[in-house]
């Protein structure tokens, strides 16, 4: 391979990932996209989902990203997300509880006015993505 690309995932609280990767695959607004070294400059918003990359050793890493956006440059990918977790930091029990709560709120949202549908939906998506990533570890 021609070389490695620098990947950085930053949130307002911390820098989640800062290392070299062989390939980065991110959940773009219009679908997943992969970035290799020498990619053209590219900017997109991200969906809630998982960001995958292969580290220099060739093993796959998975990071949960909560929306935000990504900037790809020929030698570097920067992801700015409001929050992001590495797979090992995901608390799957908490995500399951969040899923249940979100489902319940969405069900109630039909009858109640005071529930913000969009927010509940976002919470649901986040929970689903987290669980999906968390379960990959178990498999």
């Amino acid at each position: 391979m021609a070389g490695n690309i620098m990947l950085e995932v930053v949130t307002p609280d911390k820098s989640v990932v800062s290392e070299e990767a062989q390939i980065v695959v991110a959940p773009g607004e219009y679908g997943e996209f992969g970035v290799l070294i020498g990619h053209t400059s590219f900017l997109t918003t991200l969906k809630i989902g998982m960001l995958r990359y292969k580290d220099t050793g060739g093993s796959e890493r998975v990071v949960f990203v909560n929306g935000g956006f990504a900037e790809a440059l020929p030698n570097k990918v920067t992801v700015l997300a409001e929050s992001a977790d590495r797979r090992r930091d995901i608390d799957i029990e908490r995500a399951r509880a969040a899923l249940k709560r979100a489902e319940q709120r969405l069900a109630e949202a039909r009858t109640r006015e005071d529930i913000d549908f969009r927010r509940a939906e976002g919470a649901l998506q986040r929970a689903i993505a987290r669980i999906k990533i968390g379960e990959r570890r178990a498999a």
């Binding site: 590219f42 900037e71 030698n75």
Partner: protein, 300 residues
């Protein structure tokens, strides 16, 4: 004149105060470190964000007609939101007073122009002050400044401001926060949040990455749509940054105030001890005089 015992009590009291004040100083110091670390952690995000938004906005402004509403100043400004950040707790010197003075000046200026100002108070001290004076407080957020808070706090407050701007309730939104200049200096700062008045450029020099950097990105979705997503985020980033700065400033101000208090206590103890010793000496002298006088009388 105060008796010996009175002075002694007073000295003990001051000593106890000094202990408390010293402890508060140490607490503030450690909290300050935490707050500063958070500020450091936020910097890469803020810088990158400003950089990307800057390069985007250059491409959008060519087309004034369809500029996103968050960028367009209103011709007539009648209603304004002011987000004022203060601390929840006192004992931090003139920290809150300075912020409130800044806010008062802003309010006076706007009142002179017949502009209605609604307040959003973050921090108990500011809220208490403005509530007592019956200002129009739109909402309040307590327990954020100086404590642990997440980005969602800034998102909520920002959404509140943006929504009322977009539906025409307000024509401008400003924020007053305390800028952390140095350990010894915290400056109350007024910033316009909405409409977004030009994205500040970060100094590019700090991290030179000229290798094939092409600012013209391919954008997905379109530049306009990206802007629509990023502009509200810009407001959140500003608010979050302000909150971090204010928190750090609060701890720095308290640390300073408590350090002064500690040394004032030390001064007081010194001067009180002096008074105490003098009084003791005077009592001894008086007693001696008595004895000597009595002995002389017997001899005679």
């Amino acid at each position: 004149m105060a008796t010996l015992k009175d002075i002694k009590t007073k000295i003990t009291a001051v000593q106890k105060t000094q202990k408390i004040v010293k402890a508060m100083n140490m607490v503030a110091t450690s909290k300050l470190r935490g707050a500063q670390e958070k500020m450091e952690a936020f910097r890469p995000y803020a810088n990158k964000f400003a950089e990307v938004l800057g390069s985007l906005s250059e491409r959008v402004e060519a087309d004034e007609e369809h500029a996103p509403p968050l960028l367009v100043p209103r011709a007539e400004v009648k209603n304004v939101d002011l987000l004022i950040m203060t601390s929840d707790r006192g004992l931090c010197g003139s920290f809150n007073t300075n912020l409130i003075i800044k806010a008062e000046r802003f309010l006076k200026e706007k009142a002179g122009q017949d502009i209605e100002v609604r307040l959003i108070c973050m921090g108990r001290k500011g809220r208490d002050y403005f509530r007592r004076r019956k200002y129009n407080i739109r909402s309040e957020h307590i327990g954020i400044v100086g404590a642990r808070f997440g980005f969602s706090v800034a998102v909520n407050a920002g959404t509140e401001l943006i929504d009322s701007f977009l539906n025409g309730e307000t024509d401008e939104a400003h924020v007053i926060f305390s800028e952390f200049v140095s350990m010894a200096r915290q400056m109350p700062t007024l910033k316009q949040l909405i409409p977004i008045a030009g994205v500040e450029k970060v100094e590019q020099a700090q991290e030179a990455e000229p290798v094939g950097y092409i600012p013209e990105h391919i954008c997905e979705p379109s530049v306009e749509e990206l802007m629509a997503v990023m502009l509200p985020k810009h407001v959140y980033v500003q608010i979050f940054g302000g909150l971090l700065e204010t928190s750090t400033s609060e701890h720095a101000a308290r640390m300073q105030a408590m350090e002064n208090a500690t040394s004032n206590c030390a001064d007081m103890i010194v001067s009180l001890t002096m008074v105490y010793n003098k009084a003791r000496q005077a009592a001894i002298t008086a007693e001696l005089m008595d004895i000597v006088g009595g002995a002389e009388a017997l001899k005679g």
